[in-house]
Every structure is written in structure tokens, then in C-alpha cells.
């Protein structure tokens, strides 16, 4: 128990670095895909450090409050993951982060952050069911919602739940704000809603949200790795492959609308899940 706790603690401390590093590599590879030289790998860290040093500027106090809670929740998610806790619980805590992010964005009477917040809600509406579907499929295979039981299961889940991996990929695309689903805010801000849900967060507050995002990245990668829980190498390959695919998709598609996202993510996601779950229950 204590060793698990220490491991989880270590993971929580490492997660932002992992997330930041992944983001840095992401930006570099994206640049290379566009035939650009790209920023240094450590760029995300520079960005966040700089943001931390900017003057505070808020529309009201809730904007200072919400990022802290968002960050807490995101970190907590990673910690729970490290504790090999209940997947549903992690999911709910993840919602806390999302909800506070949106509340903070809505706290500003600014149309862009408001629209961004609404779209963020639509994104949550799209990816939350997908995540749940994935978790349910896990539970069907392992008999419980506990991550510990995924590890205890002893076999990789991927062969049993291949379609669910794609479903998780959908959720990943939405959560990572990648094209075609970079709808509520995107990293290169050329969007009709400026920076969407992030518009009114600035300076240190934005930094906190960015760090929270790194935690989320780490968490989602962790969730992906559960598909090949038996081998570190396998998990790493799976992650690298999935992430690379994500980057390619980001670069070969246009941004779609949220209406499309809702239809497509939920429709395809549900269809794939049903297929997989039915197929899997026949297998057993």
C-alpha cells in the first residue's frame, strides 16, 4: 500500500513533466510535418514559466479560483491513476476539472470565452460518453472498474478491445484539442472564437490551465497504456504509435464543427463500442 502510494506520488510529480515534454515533442513533430524547423522541445516549459511571470489580469475573481481547482482535479486524477483506483472515480474527478474550467470561462462576460465554454461543454458531451464506454468495456473484460484489476488481468486488453482503442482515440483527439476536433480552443489561435474557452484566462491563470492540460495528457496516455498493461515496451510502442497517428490526423484534416463532432464522435463511438462489446461477449 505505501509503495503504491509513493509510486502514485512520484507519478503525480512526474506527470506535468511528462505532459510538457510530450507537448514539446508534439509541437516539434507538428512543425516538421509542416516542413518547419519548429520550436525547441522545452518550449512548453518556457511558455509556462513566462506565463507565471506575467501580471495578473482577470475579469473577476472566479477566474483566479477556477484554474487552481482545475489543476487540483487534474493532478488528483493522475494520482488516482497511480493508485490504480477506480476508473469511474477518475472519470468523475476529471469532470471536476472540466467543470471548473468552464465555470471560470463563463465567469467573464465575454462572448468569446462564453462561446468557447459552451463548445467545451459540447466537447465534454462528446468525449465523456466515449471514455465511459471504454471504461465499461474494461470492466466487462476484467470484472471491475479498478485499474489494479486491469494489471491483475495478466493479458493485454488490446486484442480483446481493438475497437475500443479507436474509441479512446476519438476521445483523445477531442481532449488534446486536435484537428478535426479542436473546437473549443486550439493551440494555434486562428479560430473564429479566438482562443475559445481560454480567451479570458491570462498570465499565471493560463499557466495553471496549461499545467493541468499536461496532467490530462499524462493521464490520457496512461489510459491508453492500459490497453497493453502487461509490457512496458508494448505500452510505449502503443502510445508512440497512437500519438503519432494523432499528429498526422491533426495535420491532414480541417477543423470540423461541433455539430459534426457530436454526431460523428457519438455515432461512430457508440457503433464501434457496441460492435466491440458484442463481439467480446461472444468471445467469452
Amino acid at each position: 500500500m505505501t509503495s503504491k502510494f509513493l509510486l502514485a506520488l512520484a507519478l503525480t510529480i512526474a506527470a506535468p513533466f511528462i505532459g510538457g515534454l510530450v507537448t514539446g515533442i508534439d509541437r516539434k513533430i507538428t512543425a516538421r510535418l509542416q516542413s518547419r524547423y519548429g520550436p525547441p522541445i522545452a518550449q512548453p516549459f518556457y511558455d509556462v514559466l513566462k506565463l507565471l511571470g506575467k501580471d495578473r489580469m482577470v475579469v473577476n475573481m472566479w477566474q483566479a479560483l477556477c484554474p487552481v481547482v482545475t489543476l487540483t482535479a487534474s493532478a488528483l486524477c493522475v494520482f488516482l491513476f497511480g493508485m490504480q483506483a477506480d476508473l469511474l472515480l477518475i472519470f468523475f474527478v476529471l469532470t471536476v476539472g472540466g467543470v471548473f474550467l468552464i465555470m471560470g470561462a463563463m465567469a467573464a462576460p465575454s462572448p468569446y470565452s462564453q462561446i468557447g465554454a459552451q463548445r467545451e461543454l459540447m466537447q465534454m458531451l462528446a468525449y465523456e460518453p466515449l471514455l465511459i464506454l471504454v471504461f465499461v468495456s474494461f470492466s466487462m473484460v476484467t470484472g471491475s472498474f479498478k485499474i489494479a484489476d486491469v494489471y491483475a488481468y495478466g493479458r493485454p486488453l488490446l486484442p480483446q478491445l481493438p475497437l475500443m482503442f479507436i474509441v479512446l482515440g476519438y476521445a483523445l483527439t477531442i481532449k488534446l484539442r486536435k484537428s478535426p476536433f479542436d473546437i473549443a480552443a486550439c493551440h494555434h489561435a486562428h479560430q473564429e472564437i479566438v482562443r475559445g474557452v481560454l480567451t479570458e484566462y491570462s498570465g499565471p491563470n493560463l499557466a495553471l490551465i496549461e499545467i493541468a492540460h499536461w496532467f490530462d495528457v499524462a493521464l490520457i496516455l496512461g489510459l491508453c497504456s492500459l490497453f497493453w498493461s502487461t509490457s512496458a515496451l508494448g505500452a510505449a510502442t502503443l502510445l508512440a504509435g497512437a500519438y503519432f497517428l494523432e499528429l498526422v490526423i491533426d495535420n491532414v484534416t480541417a477543423r470540423m464543427t461541433w455539430r459534426f463532432m457530436l454526431q460523428n464522435a457519438l455515432g461512430v463511438g457508440l457503433a464501434l463500442s457496441v460492435l466491440n462489446i458484442v463481439w467480446q461477449s461472444f468471445n467469452n
Partner: protein, 125 residues
């Protein structure tokens, strides 16, 4: 999806980026860069001032000065075209950035001296 080939090709070939300022490309010939006046040649005829569409030149025949507001110059090169003695030219480098307001002020040598000097040069040639 059709972009895939393109982006993968980009990934596996050298980036298109020219690593300026570490890597500077040789300027093209005839680039209309910084405006320069070989003030010794200038005859203060004001042709450039009259032609300049931006009206950023001020020539004073009496004081023998040639002034240019580099912040207003649009690098069109019209002045260069009209200068009868080719005292104006454009370098193939752009004007460096600056933190302060700038003015170009050139004082020609007094008339007598100049004519003498020109004569001497002619003689030598």
C-alpha cells in the same frame, strides 16, 4: 486524408526553414534596400525631392544639405531613377531595425571646395 503523403514527405525531408539569422541568403541583385546618397556627388538639384511620392526628402541647395526621413521612405526607388548625377543608390540590404526615431541628415561640402575637388579628379583621370 490526401494531405498525408505531403506531411509525411515533409517529416522525412529537411525542413524548408532558412535558419535566419544564423543563415542569411545572399541578396538578389537589384534589391531596393537602404537609400544612400553619395553626398559628394549630389548637386542638390531637388529633382529627387520633387519626384518622391512619399515626400520624405528635403534638399536645400543653399545650405547644401540633403535630408531623408527613413521612417517615411517607401523604398520605391523613384528618386534613384530621377537623380541626374546618380548620386543616389540603393543598397541591397534592408534598413536595420531600431529602437529610436531616426533621421538621415547629410551635409555636402561647401561648393567651392567641391568643384575644385572634382576638377582635380578629372585631371587625374
Amino acid at each position: 486524408m490526401f494531405m498525408t503523403k505531403n506531411v509525411l514527405k515533409n517529416l522525412f525531408s529537411k525542413s524548408a526553414t532558412r535558419l535566419y539569422p544564423a543563415e542569411v541568403r545572399a541578396p538578389f541583385k537589384g534589391f531596393r534596400g537602404m537609400l544612400e546618397n553619395a553626398i559628394d556627388v549630389c548637386i542638390f538639384c531637388k529633382k529627387c525631392q520633387l519626384a518622391c511620392p512619399s515626400q520624405c526628402l528635403k534638399v536645400d541647395l543653399k545650405a547644401r544639405t540633403w535630408e531623408c526621413d527613413p521612417f517615411a521612405c517607401v523604398y520605391c526607388g523613384v528618386c534613384v531613377d530621377v537623380c541626374p548625377v546618380a548620386s543616389l543608390s540603393m543598397r541591397d540590404a534592408y534598413r536595420p531595425v531600431t529602437g529610436e526615431r531616426e533621421m538621415i541628415f547629410m551635409q555636402g561640402a561647401p561648393k567651392a571646395v567641391k568643384e575644385k575637388k572634382e576638377k582635380k579628379e578629372k585631371d587625374e583621370a
